[in-house]
Symmetry: D2
Subunit: 354 residues, 4 copies
C-alpha cells in the first residue's frame, strides 16, 4: 500500500518535516533523562530547567507549558484567549483552520475561525480590520484573537515590522495575538533575528513553539509572554489530556536541542535544503517557486506527468491544492543528496515530457 515499497527503507521524502525522526541532540538528552525514578507531571528537574532555558532564549519572564502536539498547543492557547462566542481571525491557509479537524472549535467549545485571504500566506492589518469591522451585532461571534503562523503554511515568514503592524491593529481592536510556531525555528533561522524579535517584541501574546518538526519525538511548548493569560493554564492542560505523566521525556529533548544551539542549526539546515531545491528547480527545470523560499518549504506547480512520475519513483509529497501546487518540505535531516536526487528525477521527467 505504500508507494515506496521496494526502495531503500532509508529513502527520504518531502511530504512533511514530521517524517524525520529524533535528532541526535534530542535523543541524547532523552536517554540521559531515562535514569531512575523522577517525579511525574512536570515536577522534575528537566522540565524546570528547560522552562528556564526558554525564558533565557526569549529574554523575558514568560510562562512555559509542554503539551503533546501542535493541534493541542494551538487549540489550548486559543481556548485560553477566547470564549465560545468569540471569533479568531486567521489566514485562509492557516493550519488551525484547514488541518486540525475542528480542534480549535472543540477545545474552545465553539469559537469561530474567520478565515481571510492574504498574499504569500500572510495576514495583513487591512484584512484584519475588514473582518473585525464587518459585523458588530450579537448574532455574529465577536472577534477576540488574531492567529498567525510563523513560518507560514507556504514557507514565507513575517518580518518584525509586519508582525508589529498586525499586533498594533489587533490591539487597537481589542484582539490578542497568537502565533502558531510549528516552524518557528525555521522562521527565526530564515530571518536571522532573535526569537524575541520575532515574537513578543513584535507584539505576540502567546507562541506555540513547535518541537516535533525541530527533531523532537513528541511535544510542543506553549509560551505565554503575557503571563496574565496563562491563569490556571496547567489545569486546562490536565483536563484536556495534555499533561504528560512522564513529563521528562517531553521536556528533556528540548534541553538537548536548546543547550547547544542545535535547534537553530537544524532549522537553518532545513532552510538551506529548501533553497537548494528551489534553486535547482528554477535553474534546471524552469519551475519557479510559487512563494519566496524563506523557511523550509518549496511550493511549485508541477506538470501532471512530472508529478505522476515522481510518485511512480516512490517520492512522497503533498499536493497543497489551496496553495496552488505541490509542497516539498525539508527537515532537519534532509540530505543534500536527497535534494539532488529529487532534482535529477524532476529533470529527467521534464526531459521525457518535453
Amino acid at each position: 500500500m505504500n508507494a515506496n515499497q521496494g526502495r531503500s527503507p532509508a529513502m527520504q521524502h518531502f511530504a512533511s518535516d514530521n517524517y524525520a525522526g529524533i535528532c541526535p541532540e534530542a535523543l541524547a538528552a532523552l536517554l540521559a533523562a531515562n535514569d531512575g525514578h523522577v517525579r511525574s507531571y512536570g515536577d522534575d528537574e528537566w522540565t524546570l530547567r528547560v522552562a528556564d532555558r526558554l525564558r533565557e532564549l526569549f529574554e523575558t519572564d514568560c510562562d512555559v507549558y509542554f503539551v503533546f502536539n501542535g493541534t493541542a498547543a494551538n487549540s489550548l492557547a486559543l481556548a485560553a484567549l477566547c470564549q465560545p462566542y468569540h471569533s479568531v481571525i486567521c489566514h485562509q491557509l492557516a493550519h488551525v483552520d484547514t488541518d486540525e479537524c475542528g480542534a480549535p472549535q472543540f477545545f474552545s467549545n465553539g469559537a469561530t475561525l474567520l478565515a481571510v485571504a492574504g498574499e504569500q500566506g500572510k495576514l495583513t492589518p487591512e484584512a484584519i480590520v475588514e473582518v473585525v469591522t464587518r459585523r458588530s451585532d450579537i448574532h455574529y461571534p465577536k472577534p477576540k484573537v488574531v492567529t498567525l503562523t510563523q513560518a507560514t503554511e507556504v514557507g514565507t515568514v513575517y518580518r518584525p515590522d509586519e508582525l508589529r503592524a498586525i499586533a498594533d491593529t489587533a490591539r487597537a481592536h481589542g484582539l490578542r495575538v497568537h502565533m502558531d510556531g510549528a516552524r518557528f525555528a525555521n522562521a527565526v533561522a530564515g530571518l536571522g533575528l532573535s526569537p524575541a524579535e520575532v515574537s513578543w517584541r513584535a507584539g505576540v501574546d502567546v507562541l506555540c513553539f513547535g518541537g516535533t518538526k525541530m527533531g523532537l519525538p513528541v511535544g510542543e511548548a506553549v509560551v505565554f509572554f503575557d503571563r496574565k493569560l496563562s491563569d490556571d493554564f496547567s489545569y486546562r492542560c490536565k483536563q484536556a489530556g495534555q499533561l504528560a505523566s512522564k513529563m521528562r521525556f517531553l521536556s528533556a529533548p528540548w534541553l538537548g536541542i536548546l543547550e547547544n544551539g542545535a535547534w537553530l542549526r537544524h532549522a537553518a539546515h532545513a532552510n538551506a535544503m529548501a533553497r537548494r531545491l528551489a534553486a535547482g528547480l528554477a535553474e534546471g527545470t524552469g519551475l519557479p517557486a510559487l512563494f519566496p523560499v524563506q523557511a523550509n518549504g518549496v511550493f511549485v506547480r508541477l506538470p501532471g506527468r512530472i508529478e505522476a512520475g515522481l510518485r511512480a519513483r516512490g517520492w512522497l509529497f503533498y499536493n497543497f491544492i489551496a496553495a496552488g501546487g505541490a509542497r516539498f518540505m525539508c527537515g532537519w535531516d534532509t540530505a543534500p543528496e536527497t535534494v539532488d536526487r529529487l532534482l535529477a528525477d524532476i529533470r529527467e521527467l521534464a526531459a521525457e515530457s518535453a
Copy 2:
C-alpha cells in the same frame, strides 16, 4: 524544593509507577524505529504491526488506537460511548472521577459521573442496579456506561466472574462497559489469566490499555472489542489533539514490550515487589495491608510519626486519604533492595516510636 535533595539521584520511590523511566525493551524498539523518514499520523509499519500484535494478544479482531495519556484514553473512550446528557457509573475511588480534573466531562461536553461505593475499590452489580434505577426522569442524566478500573485504584483486581456479573447487569440496563486499564498488565499478571479472559470475554466493550506504567515513555492504547463503537474514532482523536504526528515513537515501544512478553514480566515483577512489601510490613511491623495485594500497590495505615519519618528520610509516596492510608506503588524497575530499604526504615521508625 525536593524532599530528596542530597540523596542519591537514583533513589527509587513508591509515589507512583509513573516515576519509573522507559524499560529496556521499549527503549530498544524506540531506537530501532528512529531510522529515516517514516509516514506520519500512524500510517507507518510500526503502528500497523503493533495493532496486529494487540489483536493477537487479545485473540480477537479489535480496533486499536494510540493516544498520548490515560486521561485522554479514558475520556475519549467514554465520550465515544455516551452523549452529554448521559451518565457514567463509576466507583467512588475511580481515577476518572477523582484525578482527571473533569476530563471525562470536558471530552464528552458534560456527561455526568455517578460515583458509587463498593468494597475493595470494586463496583458491584447491586450498586449499579441501585444507581441505575434510582431516577428515570428527564431531569437526571440517563445512565449509559459502566466504567471500572482493572487493577483497581486500591490494588485489587476483578476476577472474570465479577466482571461478567457486572457486564451482564450493565447489558440488562442498556449500559456499555468501559475498562480503565492503566494497570491492566498488573491485573493480568495478578490473575494469571489471558488478556481476553480479563476483558472482552468477560463482557468489556472498550479497554484503555495503559502503556506508560508498563515502562513506555508515553502513550496508551484504546482497544475497542465492539468495533461498532469505534466509528470515526480516529477523527475524534485527531480533533481532540491526540493524534501523534510521529506516531512511530508511540507505537514502536509497544512492539518492544509485546513481542517478547516483557509487558507481562515487568508487571509480574512489580506485583511481586508489592507482595514483598506487604509481607514485610505485616511480619516486621504489624502493619497490615488495607486491601488484598493483587497487583502492584500496597495500602497501609501508617502511624503519623512513621509517615513523617519516612518523608524525612526522603521517601516519596502518596497519602490516599479516600482509601484510608498511605499508598506504595511498585514499578517495573522497583528493586527488591528498594523494598527492603523501605521496610528497614519503617521498622526503625516503628521501633523509635514504640
Copy 3:
C-alpha cells in the same frame, strides 16, 4: 436611539417577520390554556394534543419536541445528527452559519459548518458532491449532514424535486438531511403543496418548524421524521436549557394556529404582501427583485439616497450585504396599506433622486 421616534407606535416595519406580535388564534389558545394547575415539562394535554396534530399535519408518525427558539431548534437538531468531529454542509447564506453566533458549534461541541455557494440561496447536489469529495483525510471534519433552509434566506423555495435530488445525493454520501424551517409555513404556502411533500416525502430527516415567525409568542417545533434520530432527544433539550416548565404556553399557541388552518392563511398573506411589494417596486420604481419572490421576503438593490431616505422616514429594514441588497420581510400582520405606504415613499424618494 430609535429611528422611528415621533412616529406612530403602531407603525409597521419590514426588518423582520419577528417584529410582529402574537396572532389572534395563537393568543386565544394561550389564554384558553391559562386555566388552573397543569403538569409541567410537557406532560400536559395541550402538548400531547399539538404533537398529535403535527403528526396529522405531516401525515406520518413523527417525533415532535418544542423548544424556545430557532437557534436552539437548529443547533440541537444538528447536534443530534453529528459528532464534534463531523461537518455540516450549508449554503453560504444559511442563517445557521451567518446569524447564530456559533450556536451549532457550541451545541455540538465543535462541529464544522462548510458553507458553499449556490444560486438563489439554494444548495445543489453538485455543490454538495464537490465539498463532500474535496477531502477525505482525518485532518478535516467528516461530512455528516446537509442542512437547507426552506424558505431560503433570500425568499426562494426548494421544490420537491430539488429537495429530492439533494436528499438522494446526501444519502449516497452517508449524510443526513436537516431543514431549517423558520419560514417553513411560507414555503408550504408558496408552493401550494402539502407539508409532507415539502419535507419527509422529499427526503428530509429532521425539520425545525418555525413557530415564532408564524405568529407565536415564542417557540419552535423540532420534528423528527426518522424517529431513530430522536433517541433521548428530550434529555438533550433538558440539558441544553430548552425544556419549558410551563410547556403549555409554548404548545397551546401551536394548537391555536394549527386547528383551523390559521398557520397557512397567515403565511399565504405574508407571501402575498411580499409579492405586492415586489410588483410595486418593479412597476413603480424600476427596482427589480434580486430573487424570485416565492415566500415572504423581497430583496432589492436600493440606491443609497433612497435607502437613506427610507430610514429618515422611520422605516426599519436590514441591509443583507451578502445577498446584495436591502431585505424587506412581510409578516402575518403586514397590512396592504403598509406595503403601499412603503412603495409610495420609495417612489417619492426615487423621484427626488432622479
Copy 4:
C-alpha cells in the same frame, strides 16, 4: 394516564409552583405588549424599561439579561464565572446538581459541581472551607464559585448574616458567589427584607431571579451585580439559544408584576399558604414539617398509606427522597380552600390508618 382524570380540571396541586399559570398582572402586561411591530432581540422599550425597573428594585446599577428558563439562567451564569477546569461548590440538594440533567456541565463545557452536606438545605462557611482546602493539586478541578439557592430546595431561607458569612468565606478563597433565585421572591417575602439586602449587599455577585414560579409564562432574569462579570454575556446568551426574538413577551410580563408590587404579594401569599399547610399538618395530624417553613414549600414524612391515599384521591405532589419526605409547594394562586381540602384529606386518611 393522569391520576386526576375524572376530577375537576381546575383542581389545584402541590407538585410544583410551576403548575400554576400566568398571574393576572403578568398577563395584562403581555397583552399590552402585543401591539404592532416591535424591534426584536431585546432592543425594545419593554425590555429596556424592565431592566431599569430591576435596577431600581435592587437599588444598584446591575446588568440584567432575560433568558428562557432557570436551567439556562443558572448554567449560563455559572459558565460566565468559571472555566471548564474549575469547580462550583453547591449544597447536595441543590437543583443545579440534582435536577438539571448536567446542564451546568454542558454550558460550561465540563465544570465540576462539588456537592456538600448542610443542615436545612444550606451551605455553611465551614463546609465550603472544607471542600476548598481538601485538594489543591492539578488533578482536581480548582474551586471558583459558590452557588446557593435562595429560598433553598427545602423551603428554608438564608438570612443576610448567613449569606455574608458565606460570601466572605468565598471571597477569602477566591470564589465568586452565585445565587439560584428560582424562588427569590419567596425568600424576600419570607425574610421581610429588601431584595438588595438578600443579594448583593450580602455579597452575591450574580443572581438568577426566577420569573416562572412568580407567575410569568416563561423566563428568568440573570442579574449581574458585579458588572465586570457580564462581559459579552449577551453573546453567550445568543450562542446558547437563549436570546428570544420576540423578547417583549419575556420582558413585559416582568413589568406587569414589578410595577405594582404583585411579585412580592404573590410570593407572600404562597408563603402564607405553606404556613397554613404546615400549621394544619402539625395541629391536625401530628405530622411536623421536616424543615422550618420560611418560603412556599412544606416537607413532611408521610406514612405510606396516607401518601397512597392522597394519590388515589388525585393529589399530585413529589416525593423528595433526598430531603426525606413528601414535598408540597404552594404557588401564587394556591387557594386557602385547596390547602384546607388537602388537610382534610390527610386527616381522613390518618384516621383511617389509625
